[in-house]
Amino acid sequence: MSIHQRKATPKNGISKCPTGIPGLDQITEGGLPKGKPTLVCGSAGCGKTLLAMEFLVRGATEFKEPGVFMAFEETDKELAQNVASMGFDLPALCARKNLFMDYVRVERSETEETGEYDLEGLFIRLENAINAVGAKRVVLDTIESLFAGFANTSILRSELRRLFGWLKAKGVTAVITAESGDGKLTRQGIEEYVADCVILLDHRVEDQSSTRRLRVVKYRGTMHGTNEYPFLIGETGLSVLPLSSLKLDHKAPTQRVSSGVPRLDTMLGGKGFYRGTSILVSGVAGAGKSSLAAHFVRAACQRGERALYMASEQSPDEVIRNMRSIGLDLEPWVKRGLLRFYAARPGAFGLEKHLVTIHDLIIEFNPKVVVIDPITNFASMGTHSEVKSMATRLIDVFKSRQITAMFTSLTSQDSAPELSEVGVSSQMDAWLLLRNLESNGERNRGLYVLKSRGMAHSNQIREFLLTNHGVQLRDVYVGPSGLLTGSARVAQEAMEQAGVLQRKQQAQRKSVALKQKRQQLEAQIARMRSEFAFEEQGLMLGAHEMELQEKQIVVDRVEMGHARKADLVSAHGNGRA
């Protein structure tokens, strides 16, 4: 590779040709090596032909790169029929000159070999096909069939080597399929000739469920995912998982969504969960996980958001009926198209199929909230690591689309409640634990927030009640004998209420006594006042009398003076003295 070319694509070093197959371009970081042959090998029936065909069809429809399909095993008609179910209309593509199909039939029994020959005929046909549509992509499926058609393998080998060199020189991106066997990638050792990129497909059965897997064995000059990735053949073609990115680069919204239970929101910093986070609700059987999930879903619908409820234990009808018993009617939301159920037995098909179905549903329905009830049911579907990787992918899908997801997880009675069976707890942002609290011969439900990333949350256990009006949370009393729940709590509540009443009565009594005292005092004051008034009156009366007497004395004196014919003035003056 020249320096100039490297400059053109500085990141990956080599230029790539996107396949358009979901997931595959992510694993290969962009697609197959452009202008080079890629070997796709695998046992019979593992999807080689389909992968190759999808590469061409998507190339023609999505990337405007016409292709040539050279089939050695199936006729054009058979191929067209086989892929029609995936929505690939080969005859139409051929008619529009986006695709050229050529069926090469090599029948040993009809052919006699007499001396030297080469495969120039194949080259000429291929060139003719490439020129006919201006092909950028070429598929040879399955070129190893030639080994059955020709006896002289040494000629064949040298011709194949020449063919791959020729394809490279032509600059077409080629996919060559080959059957693997005898512990080798390909029966005839084609991988020796096609060295740039080798993809291995595999189809295995484990625990009676089959899984298709894809692995990039080799990819020269570029980074690529090296794991085995499950893939499946769905209604729209091939899908390789991971469906979403391999990176951890989700956005972290700060918006909050309600859990649907007001007091639970209070426990979560007063506002509920962060949008786009994953919430685990774990608990033993009958702890109320589904009920909590139903609240969550209903709250979303009430906000006008779409919600997807995936039930793997109950049918949608059962969920609706059972939730009605606690006063939650989900049916109107289903009718309004805000709530959708997806119910499937975990064992109905493989893990990957579930994952893809869920993924397709999410793309189609575009919910804001998803409930998976319960995720533990999938634990029986594969090995621990498989289930874990599936859960990881699910979480990845949800997070990348900012879907708030609630997973319920069934824990067995005797295992530690903090142990979630699927082993996904570390990937969860919030974890609610539902516990059974047994005391006084009764079982009560308790809820607490085990963790909730990025927010202050309550550390308290709340009693979790399933009432006619849905889930309610109550305070738990901590008494000398431990936690008080259920009837013990009710008794405690009654006791406290009695205490309150008593205190109230006491206060009332006291205020009555005070009132009485005041009345007594006031009466006393009134009496004293009236006594004083009486006395005052008496005194005042005496004074008046004395004044009158004084006046009378003066009058008398004057009159006496008159009678004595005394000088008035002097008499008066005397009188005064």
Binding site: V106, E113, T114, G115, E116, L119, E120, G121, N128
Partner: protein
């Protein structure tokens, strides 16, 4: 077994009447194609004198003809008539195999 005998008997009669139609596919005038044509002519003159017609198709000039007769290897000799269609690949240097491959009458095979 009976039927096979009958068939071969029929074939014999047919080969006696019908003009053989042979087509040789080549890709350019390579030494190999020239050798093949020479070998073919020699065998035909020996076994089908006056009863054959050879058509040479150069795929470099007419590439679209390759698909029709399912040509992969060159040179390829195709016996178009009499039926059934037969195909022989290679430079036809092994004349014995050509004779067997073309189903020429065993009686006429030279030893």
């Amino acid at each position: 077994m009976n039927t096979t005998k009958e068939k071969s008997g029929e074939g014999k009669r047919k080969t006696a009447r019908v003009v053989w139609n042979l087509r040789l596919y080549i890709a350019g005038e390579t030494p190999r194609s020239i050798a093949a044509l020479a070998n073919l002519q020699k065998i035909c003159d020996e076994h089908l004198a006056g009863r054959y017609r050879v058509e040479v198709v150069d795929l470099l000039k007419n590439p679209q003809l390759a698909a029709g007769d399912q040509i992969v290897a060159v040179p390829t000799l195709v016996r178009r008539l009499p039926p059934p269609l037969k195909r022989i690949i290679g430079d036809l240097s092994n004349s014995e195999r050509v004779i067997v491959g073309l189903d020429l009458r065993p009686g006429k095979v030279s030893r």
